[in-house]
Subunit: 467 residues, 2 copies
Amino acid sequence: MLMYRRLLAASATLALISGVAHAQDTKTAEGLRDKALLDRTAWEITEDLTTSIGPRIVGSPAMERAKGWGEAKLKALGFTNIKVEQFAKSSWTRGEESAWLVGPYPLKLNIVGLGRTLPTPAEGIEADVALFRTYAEMMAAPEGSLKGKIAVITQPMVRAQDGYGYGVAGVSRRAGPAEAAKRGAVALLIRSVSTSDSTVPHTGVTGFGPDVVTIPAAAMGVPEAEQLERLAKKGPLRIKLKLASTTDANDVAWNISGEIKGSEKPDEVIVIGGHLDSWDVGTGALDDATGVAITTAAAKLIGELPKHPKRSIRVVMFGSEESGGSSEAYVEAHKAELPKIVLAGESDTGADRIYSLKLPAGAQKHPIATTAGNLLAPLKIFVNRDPSAHGGSDIEGLEAAGVPSIELEQDASRYFDYHHTMDDTLNKVRPDELAQNVAAWASFIYLVADSDIDFRAMKPASAPAAH
Amino acid sequence: MLMYRRLLAASATLALISGVAHAQDTKTAEGLRDKALLDRTAWEITEDLTTSIGPRIVGSPAMERAKGWGEAKLKALGFTNIKVEQFAKSSWTRGEESAWLVGPYPLKLNIVGLGRTLPTPAEGIEADVALFRTYAEMMAAPEGSLKGKIAVITQPMVRAQDGYGYGVAGVSRRAGPAEAAKRGAVALLIRSVSTSDSTVPHTGVTGFGPDVVTIPAAAMGVPEAEQLERLAKKGPLRIKLKLASTTDANDVAWNISGEIKGSEKPDEVIVIGGHLDSWDVGTGALDDATGVAITTAAAKLIGELPKHPKRSIRVVMFGSEESGGSSEAYVEAHKAELPKIVLAGESDTGADRIYSLKLPAGAQKHPIATTAGNLLAPLKIFVNRDPSAHGGSDIEGLEAAGVPSIELEQDASRYFDYHHTMDDTLNKVRPDELAQNVAAWASFIYLVADSDIDFRAMKPASAPAAH
């Protein structure tokens, strides 16, 4: 009840200072919103990218084809000022991989090498297992205590709407190999960072680079991890792991962009996008063909209006999210322009429905919060008053450089069932939820693009009262 | 409404002729039912078999370990007259397998060779694709028309509570390779016979033997099949398939059994069971560790009663269901005893809840139908009046020899998501539903075991009125 009265009070306060958007703008935004729900563009983009190109890891021939695809797509959809910005990015190519439990009895384990992992020797690594139920349990093991062993971490990931469990469980993947190496392990096998109960293993980048002392590392299916846990209670385990891969330090990647040119202040730019690269398993449907599709389709719908909004909208297909690099490259290439980038946002958590809008810090009590709340309510999206918007990996560089960012938070309950696996495929995308995403992006971005709102000028609100 | 009135009329009629079971029997059966819901034996058997033994294909060292496991388990649970009946069964062992789409672009396909398939040459088979959306579409292709091609069938399977879709879609797996061979194909790749949307491929036996002219054949994941369908609309496809396997014509298998000896007519026997063998992928949890566990736990609970029922209950762990053989071997070994086997039943559709009891033909209007209906109603099981009970693959031989059979029909809605895959693992078993299965088997089998009911003597009811 207390919470309910607070919400009423907040609404009343905001109603008083509302009215930032002209009535005509709101009407246009609502029209975009409703049109987007029936628009097929995002579905067609997703289907075309996943089918015509397939998986597209940085440095692969597929990624080179994706570059051409992206340029052609932006052109075909009426974008202008199309750019392909190349940057240096080393590549990593997966070879043959396998793992077997060899004792107490032979059992094939479904595994995938972590992204950028070191390979094993060609004959593989066979060793006794040191099994840890959590990452913290392994961290408590003294240096040298895992000498000659294969470390196994079986920590599960918690399903949460906001994807919070990914950060918690993901540390095994990101830092696990280097930490296991410190303790003397010869290889690391983790339970997939996954909310599913499936055998399909999840890859994803791990610590790499010339300064990282690490060991070969892979992720196994969830049933395999649970089987090892049960078997470890009965006696010692022994595993054989083979991982092959090659790298090319001199490879390149590209950030590709196109614009809907602003009608009054074309040099003021809103940057939105997703990432074009994917892992080499599955077809990168939810990660992140749909992000590219949602933002591209949203901008395209705005571009089809009789009159473009005041400011320009730029869609960026980032070229190296999975292994990092596109964010830094984008900032580097747009240094001079940074003060004119008025807002940034990325769609990179699949295609399930958006449930929350987070505004840049300081905007929580600005009338745009109420206007946006009214606009998005029919899509079942609330405005989250918590000023913690994180726009996505590819715009972290922009954020660090002072560019305000928004977050249109997607329901991640199902996302980590498929994330970074062979099951990240078109049949996991729900067309109606995809369209709801486009409706939110098109209508909200239009509202900001046709306004003079300066998020940079807003002071962060005081800390919210304890509740 | 019409259906509702008919049900009322049927209940009334049956109530009049009810009373076959003594009140004490019904009370004992109800006690077993309620006790079983809280009993952990079936879970412990399932966990132990899948963990300690793992996958156990006929002819494997694991299956030999499973034989010892089965004997020891029956002994430990108090069964008597334990037998290990050996029979000849050729074995088939899977080797390395892989498949790649090589044109229009390289894409790894998640595949599994069909059970008992021929291998490809060591270098694999690479050929152009002839894609068919249904099995019937391929059957319509003239002989010789697939010469030199890899045939691909992408027919999906329909999800249905009674598993009906398995029969429809499964023909691609069972007969597809031989039919594709007739038309000149060099290999066959089918969409997995699966209700899931997962990349995990489903194996299962295909036509084999000295008289079968066939070709190497495998099943691919569902997303892969849908990807090939979409790509086939754009242009020609080319696939490379590698399958390795070995066979041993002189191998053996075992039917293992133990009894709860009847207190008055021990020579009258009720045969129940599941199959101990599994495919070599996953750990055969739902297929069929749970069937073994459900029937063993049910009989064990009956065996713990202060007084055993009149007739004997025999639990059989059949030794070669997946590739066939245990049913015939069982009949052959028990020829002399057949007239004394008063009823047979098998649990072999996973561990999800039972929703229907089908009685032997002729028993639909016998008072046992009403007694059983009352007994099972709290478990949310109805008595299906359709006289079409099919007891399961391993008791087909008994049925053909005139042994009456029952079916405790499990909800198969989810079963074919995991069936014959690496995902058939313990974490797909729901303990509460497993216990509901045990409750149904224990209480119903007790009722028949402590009765003089002679299903053989019942005349099949006249055909039901059209409805």
